[in-house]
Symmetry: C2
Subunit: 430 residues, 2 copies
């Protein structure tokens, strides 16, 4: 394909006309496709149905004899804590089992920090004026919505190839005591798909925060979600912290929302012993514990870490072709045009697409009018504002393969229209 | 039995010696019994095991076709909302389905009111100085722990035969804008077992709070938990509120912790449409929804309100004898002594015992030394302090019948010792 950046005004006009014609054809087809969220489809969910087929009478007692149907075991059943601890390279004592949502655990941790404070902090965050969070961008929209909800000032930090710009992170964290946290998806990051390098993880561990109550929100959502032969390796941040004695600075989160069921999995909070003791004390006021039958159901199904990884292999085999359809669609539609670049991750749930500046919103509107729902433009940035209006998050997991094929055809047409309109407009301005 | 209050000093000394002898015998038996919490035993939990025996492939789709295994349906699946709405005499739109714990829902509602405010309120509670809650006493210890956690000042309100002292409630609520809430267990109250009369419910509905953000926390934990032929009737507070246009003032809570599984049930928040819309918006930042498989599992098992009530009949038949063993033990051990009185509720999970002032703590310590764990003295009051040191919450649900029999023998001995010690001490002071 010809590079759009090198076209003459005339060529661009002609190309735009062509794409508009194709667009009208697609629009007439009256599609209704959703690529907006990273959620599994029904077939993928079926891969975990055996978990629900277990005999319920095998799911009553923990190994130490606790009846999971009853109250008790506030921080979760031992075998669940042990399984997820092993997976994360930690000890059982570093784990609190949550409900079905790690997002809810993060929200809960933030709101409690606001009202009740965190371990080692002299005052609750809410009593310190306008506190701030660092937000690597593009990032996960729901993280940003939480900080926005509490009126926390969000500071964008550019994502580089090996993780957030750590010089900038260090500068903010070490100089400003109002910087209380940073959102991270360290492996197969949402949406960029990158995995933080060892240097990046080390740089996090080495931070010397100006605040006595700064926390890294390490949302390890895709820690076992590689789908290629080559799985990215993420350094264990707690191991890195040992050298610096900084392990109290980290809250790690994960869940089985994309391991078993998005609507009925189990979530995990991992932290230092100090933090776990502090948070468990807070939790003792809040509840008598999360759903323990579901915890035991998960553990008895996986059996061990190897079992969980084997289970994830099924998911990988199912997801990989969906990513490949999208990647092929982007190649087919846009290769050589020079108007966009996109990630090719080894795992996770997203492909991050960067178009020409000033085209993302227009492209997504065009897609919507042609029946393809994408994540809203700007969603990957704090306050929903992408300053360059160029990043689009593509979520291949939910639509079927034929739908993905059609969606990508439409997406590429919309990209071309948006890019050509923008280029022609600029040309006019010249 | 002779009335201890009418005994001579000599008779009391003799009686004390006798009881001390009996106590030493019991102590030597080396028992280890727990009457401290209102939780079901394994046999009672077994009554709900059929719910877990359902074919998981019947628990995938809601009637409108939503896959409950996936994200979505933030406020819960329609059929669950409908079932619990009908049970509470409300509409589906008045319901949010929570996780497994209504306590967690209450905590969550309080902490959000603190940071984010409530519908119609001009400011979050946390920005208004030292706010206050009214606490009918004796009451539920975990309610008081939540308000204590957030530094909310707790004001005790005496419980009368028909509910809290509503003159006092009205006086506080209508004069002090810092009074933001009141804790209520309106049916088979924890621990008194009383059910609020129609007049009491009407008086709640008629309140004209000085605050624009006052809420009644209506913890209807035992709404279908009658175990006698005669079931107490609780007026629907939302119906009462209609007359006064005051329905925005009420948050109602319930759960199936004592219907199915204490560790793995479903919880419900019921409120006005205004409140539900407001809370659902807040919730949309927090999570993508609670465990919907478990919601559908509950609904498909109960089928309808009649099915749920039929299920509760099994629980009633199982619990009733446990209460009767305790009541018989109290009669056998204490009738005519004049040193205590106790409730005889038609439902719920507790018997409330009032001994002579200044004896509760001593009695519970004696029980503990003889191997019978009771709810700590004072637990039924804010800050854990019973100003008269006389109320003891007896929870008959967990121990077996033989254990209850033994426990009550010991309890009565300990009551007698504590009372005689107190009476002799007073005599000495005279």
């Amino acid at each position: 394909m010809k590079n759009y950046l090198e076209m003459s005004k005339h060529e661009r006009r002609k190309a735009l006309e062509e794409q508009q014609k194709l667009y009208e054809q697609q629009k007439a087809a009256g599609l209704n496709l959703d690529m907006s969220r990273g959620k599994p489809d029904a077939t993928q969910l079926n891969l975990s149905m055996d978990m629900l087929q277990q005999n319920p009478y095998d799911l009553i007692y923990t190994r130490k004899g606790t009846d999971v149907r009853n109250y008790g075991e506030l921080a979760g059943v031992d075998e669940a804590k042990e399984l997820f601890a092993e997976l994360l390279g930690l000890k059982m004592e570093n784990i609190i089992m949550g409900g079905q949502s790690s997002l809810a655990l993060m929200y809960d941790t933030v709101i409690k920090a606001f009202v009740l404070g965190v371990y080692g902090g002299s005052k609750p965050w809410g009593q310190q004026g306008k506190v701030k969070f660092l937000c690597p961008v593009p990032g996960y929209d729901r993280h940003f919505l939480i900080t926005q909800e509490f009126g926390i000032e969000m500071i964008s930090i550019p994502m580089k190839k090996k993780g957030p710009d750590m010089d900038l992170v260090r500068q903010y964290v070490e100089s400003d005591p109002l910087v209380k946290g940073i959102w991270c998806v360290p492996k197969y990051s949402n949406p960029t798909g990158i995995t933080f390098s060892n240097d990046t993880v080390e740089a996090f561990a080495a931070l010397k925060p100006a605040a006595d109550d700064f926390r890294i929100f390490w949302d390890n959502a895709y820690f076992v979600h590689g789908f290629r032969d080559k799985d990215d390796q993420l350094m264990n941040i707690f191991e890195a912290c040992e050298k610096y004695g900084s392990e109290d600075m980290v809250y790690e989160f994960m869940s089985t929302s994309k391991v078993t069921f998005s609507g009925a999995g189990v979530a995990v909070l991992a932290a230092s012993k100090h933090n776990i003791d502090f948070l468990t004390r807070q939790m003792s006021i809040q509840t008598l514990g999360y759903d323990k039958i579901n915890q035991l159901r998960h553990v008895k199904y996986f059996k061990n870490v190897a079992g969980l990884k084997k289970h994830m292999q099924k998911q990988a085999n199912y997801l990989r072709p969906k990513f490949d359809v999208v990647l092929a669609g982007l190649e087919r539609g846009l290769k050589g045009t020079g108007i966009g670049k996109w990630s090719n991750p080894n795992g996770g749930y997203f492909i991050s697409y960067d178009g020409l500046p000033g085209t993302a919103k227009r492209c997504i509107d065009l897609c919507a009018m042609a029946g393809v729902k994408m994540t809203p433009a700007g969603a990957t940035f704090p306050y929903g504002i992408d300053p360059e209006d160029k990043n689009i998050r593509i979520a291949p997991s939910f639509p079927s393969t034929p739908e993905l094929y059609q969606s990508m055809n439409i997406f590429c047409i919309c990209q071309k229209i948006a890019a050509l309109e923008k280029l022609l407009e600029e040309k006019d301005n010249e």
